[in-house]
């Protein structure tokens, strides 16, 4: 909570107003208490106020509920990560309080439900404790039914008072969320909110007010990465998908199942992941790029069919929302350990494209780009996101949908002749014609996973296998040459370059800012196109003495994580080293700073 200036006179006689330009609030309770809902309200409110916002949550993987948190960071300036340390901890239970006190900065505020929590004397000194009988006050507010359902909204009211949030906007959000068939539901919610808002916080002296964000004149949309990705696929013109449920991928398939019929499309729930990818490939063959996706073990199941798409050169989009692995692993935790399977999974030489979006907004645009690359290069494209980006909420500038939305209805215009695997095609790229297309020559193509000649008929010819393998590889080299060369965050020369991929872009940039603020020559580079890599990375590496690839996976047998290994193999550059962890948690900026500093300190011989 960075304070800006002392505020005006205390509001309502109970507190004085302090202006801040950002706040990190961690809400800890059990998943059934509607923790995510409070966080969601705060995020949406920030979005509507043109503030930057980033959230982070954990949910138990069991349906019966369990401890759950939601952290939201709201700022008037750029928000790059959900924040290392919270300014305020809102705790509902003793376990929430005890488990999360460490996430609070020294001097931070614990707002706790005194019905369930007894403060620990040893913590009273380091943290401001504010107890409110949240549960019983909620029951009291809604008429003593004995149930504390609604205490999350009561707590939202408390937060609204403490952070001087925009009450009319919040009320509107509450109405939108609870406004349904039963009017008493909204009424109860409003009552809870008001009770919380009007609660006298005697021992809390200060009220904070978030600085207004500099108005950008743009409307913001607020959503999580899974939503952004699914909407991106719709914008791209995808009208068919198939999948099998698995966390955290399921949200994407559920959204597409719900939305696609409006666009004249279908999403089919299949019997397993193999059927899903097979069905999606079948639809792609039918003429329009289709999508499938999964997480964890489901991705493993898809690899045989993925190899077919590579061999048959069929466009396809595969979403991999990574989670902790291997096997069932840690279904609701973040990890970046599918890079290898995405780039290399499957038998044989099977080139494919792998792209990793770096933010929620980027999920939207990456989905469109993946579809277009799949079509242009007639290739499977994997989008690698992860549990973190899938569930975190961000606000971003509303895209110009009218301009962006694409129509990909298949072209069935009759053609004179067709060779699907033409080795002399000027750009070397296969163009399939969809079934339904009349071919005047009377020669029709077969798409196949067997090595084939130019018409798709099987061959065992050594020359053809060599030529076709090269064809499949070279088109992706061509793509690599077309890709934009990424630029560094910070100067393109210095002591240390931090290289990241996927959802860790924000924390890495924040780490760079902090290094630079104390005079360290550190920059970062984010690699979005992982396979093929864009050209020109070697030039960037030249500008730095050390290159650390920071990733959320294990250092492996030889000491290098997945992207680290790929970059070392690609550039044979010994100064590329890795900083890894696989604890299922997002990077804290502090952690990155410590790990980089440790790696820079030569270990003293003992």
């Amino acid at each position: 909570m960075s304070e800006v200036a002392a505020g005006p006179a205390p509001a309502g006689g109970q507190s004085k107003l302090t202006k801040i330009n950002e706040a990190v609030i961690r809400i800890a309770g059990n998943s059934q208490d509607g923790i995510q809902a409070i966080g969601g309200f705060l995020a949406r409110l920030a979005g509507r106020s043109e503030q930057e916002v980033m959230t982070f949550m954990t949910i138990p993987s069991t349906i019966s509920g369990g401890p759950s948190i939601f952290q939201v960071r709201i700022g008037s300036g750029e928000v790059l990560s959900p924040g290392d340390e919270a300014d305020m901890l809102l705790a509902f239970y003793q376990h929430s309080y005890e488990d999360h006190i460490n996430s609070l900065k020294l001097g931070g505020i614990v707002l706790y439900d005194s019905d369930h929590i007894t403060p620990k004397p040893e913590w009273l000194e380091n943290y401001r404790h504010v107890g409110v009988a949240i549960s019983s006050k909620t029951v009291e507010a809604i008429g003593g039914t004995g149930r504390d359902k609604g205490k999350n909204i009561f707590a939202l009211g408390l937060l609204a008072r403490i952070f001087d949030l925009n009450v009319p906007k919040l009320n509107k959000l509450i109405e939108e969320r609870f406004g349904g068939k039963d009017p008493t539901v909204v009424q109860n919610a409003v009552t809870c909110f008001e009770a919380g808002y009007n609660h006298q916080l005697q021992d809390l002296l200060k009220t904070y007010q978030l600085q207004h964000a500099e108005l950008k004149g743009h409307t913001q949309v607020v959503m999580n990465g899974n939503e952004a990705l699914a909407y991106g696929l719709l914008a791209a013109g995808v009208r068919f998908g198939a999948g099998y449920p698995i966390t955290p991928w399921s949200d994407i398939m559920e959204l597409l199942r719900r939305e696609l019929p409006k666009y004249g499309g279908s999403f089919i729930q299949c019997e397993d992941e193999i059927a899903s990818i097979s069905m999606a490939i079948g639809a792609s063959y039918g003429g329009r790029v289709a999508v499938t996706g999964s997480s964890g073990p489901g991705i493993s199941l898809k690899t045989e069919a993925l190899g077919w798409a590579s061999m048959a050169e069929m466009p396809l989009v595969i979403v991999d929302v990574q989670r902790g692995g291997p096997s069932t692993g840690m279904p609701t935790n973040i990890e970046q350990s599918d890079l290898n399977i995405a780039c290399f999974g499957g038998h044989g030489d099977s080139p494919r494209v792998v792209i990793a979006p770096s933010s929620v907004e980027d999920c939207f645009y990456t989905a469109i780009e993946a579809v277009n690359i799949a079509r242009k290069y007639s290739t499977p494209v994997l989008i690698l996101t992860d549990q973190g980006i899938a569930t975190r909420i961000e606000a971003f500038i509303e895209p110009d949908l009218k301009k962006i939305c694409q129509d990909l209805t298949p072209d069935l215009t009759p053609i004179a002749d067709h060779k699907p695997y033409d080795l002399k095609a000027p750009d070397g790229i296969t163009r399939h014609v969809a079934p339904g297309t009349r071919i005047a020559s009377g020669k029709y193509p077969v798409v196949t996973g067997l090595e084939h000649d130019e018409l798709g008929h099987p061959t065992g010819s050594p020359k053809l296998h060599t030529a076709m393998t090269a064809k499949r590889r070279n088109k992706l080299r061509r793509l690599g040459a077309d890709l934009p060369v990424p630029t560094t965050y910070g100067p393109n020369e210095g002591q240390v370059l931090l290289v990241g991929w996927g959802s860790t872009q924000g924390p890495l940039r924040e780490a760079v800012d902090r290094f630079r603020s104390v005079g360290d020559a550190v920059s970062s580079l984010h690699i979005k196109y992982i396979n093929p890599l864009p050209n020109g990375l070697d030039e960037i590496f030249k500008g730095f003495r050390h290159v650390f690839v920071v990733e959320l996976n294990d250092e492996g047998l030889y000491g290098y994580g997945q992207l680290t290994s790929l970059l070392r193999a690609r550039y044979a550059e010994p100064k590329i080293r890795g900083i890894h962890k696989c604890d299922g948690q997002v990077w804290k900026v502090k952690e990155i700073l410590e790990r980089v500093r440790a790696a820079m300190t030569p270990s003293r011989p003992s």
């Binding site: 939305e259 962006i404 129509d407 990909l408 029709y444």
Partner: protein, 319 residues
């Protein structure tokens, strides 16, 4: 970040509006039925005498007789001797992976209602590695015709036990004779919810054609078990069903009610060589129809909005 680094590639597009997955059919007026020559492609790689030849020949007949056009036929297969089928047909075709032809074909069928989707394959492809897909494609009632060329053995991989191999069959993986209870494809199909279940044999061409025609006319998932002898690894397997080899070709009794699921099941339970004909047929909404209805209802609700406007509405709710 909000810019696309690779803008929308200008690739071939259609003249058809994007209303749905519907595509405009081409005018078929005064086209002549396709001759065998026009629909055959590569010379089949099957062993001389393999039963699969007759199935292919009758598929050509079907195409000719029913005036189907090259571009409207899509022939799909998995992996196996029988699954080589698409290479031998001069039409759009796909040779997919072992056991997964049905979901692949479902992807075509569900996104392209204008096409006839035919799937050919073997017993291993259908009931072993693809067993789960068989069940689910049948219960979803995805519109397509599936012909399993059942030879009671793995042909392509050279004589291993198949899920339909009879008990006692000596294969390379059961040198003492197989012991696992074979799958009965008809019972499997009926209980999975297939809406058309028939049985035929390659030695009776007229019957094969009749079954293919009926299957093709059926609106739903139509399944044919076609006995197709592997002369290489299970010669004589079907002699008892072939009058020319001293066997009996017994049709489904005339009084059998094809709508009676239990009667069909009982009939399917008769010991080999069993019966030939349509065992079961019923009408149930296809997956294709269910999806089409869902689409129609939703399209009606969104009115005449363009795709981007529908998406805009979703975005407006996130503000």
């Amino acid at each position: 970040m909000s810019e696309l680094s690779i803008p929308f590639a200008t690739l071939p597009r259609t003249t058809v509006p994007a209303a749905g997955l519907e595509v405009t059919p081409l005018a078929d007026a005064d086209r002549k039925p396709l001759s065998k020559k026009e629909v055959s492609a590569d010379h089949p790689t099957w062993c001389p005498g393999c039963g699969d030849f007759s199935v292919l020949a009758l598929y050509f007949k079907l195409i000719e007789k029913r005036k189907m056009w090259h571009e409207k036929i899509t022939t799909v297969a998995g992996i196996g001797c029988s699954s080589r089928f698409p290479y031998f047909v001069q039409a759009h075709g796909a040779h997919f992976i072992h056991g997964r032809a049905l979901p692949f074909a479902s992807g075509i069928s569900l996104s392209r209602p204008d096409l006839h989707v035919f799937v050919f394959g073997g017993d291993g492809d259908a009931f072993s590695i693809g067993g789960n897909h068989f069940t689910h494609t049948a219960r979803k009632n995805v519109k397509m015709t599936y012909v399993v060329m059942d030879n009671f053995v793995y042909g392509l991989t050279k004589k291993q036990t198949s899920p339909t191999s009879p008990i006692g069959f000596k294969s390379k993986t059961d040198i003492w004779g197989s012991t696992d209870r074979p799958i009965n494809p008809l019972k499997q199909a009926i209980s999975a919810g297939a809406t058309f279940v028939a049985r035929t044999t390659h030695t009776n061409p007229n019957h094969v054609l009749k079954m293919m025609e009926a299957a093709m006319d059926h609106d739903g998932f139509s399944f044919i078990e076609c006995l197709s002898e592997c002369v290489e690894f299970f010669p004589g397997a079907f002699d008892s069903s072939n009058p020319r080899k001293g066997g009996q070709f017994l049709e489904v009794p005339a009084e059998h009610d094809v709508a009676d699921e239990y009667a069909a099941y009982r009939l399917a339970d008769e010991p080999f060589p069993g019966r030939f004909g349509i065992f079961f047929q019923t009408q149930r909404p296809t997956k294709n129809a269910n999806e089409a209805k869902l689409i129609a209802d939703h399209r009606a609700k969104v009115g005449g909005l363009a795709d981007w406007q529908i998406l805009q509405k979703s975005f407006d709710r996130t503000k």
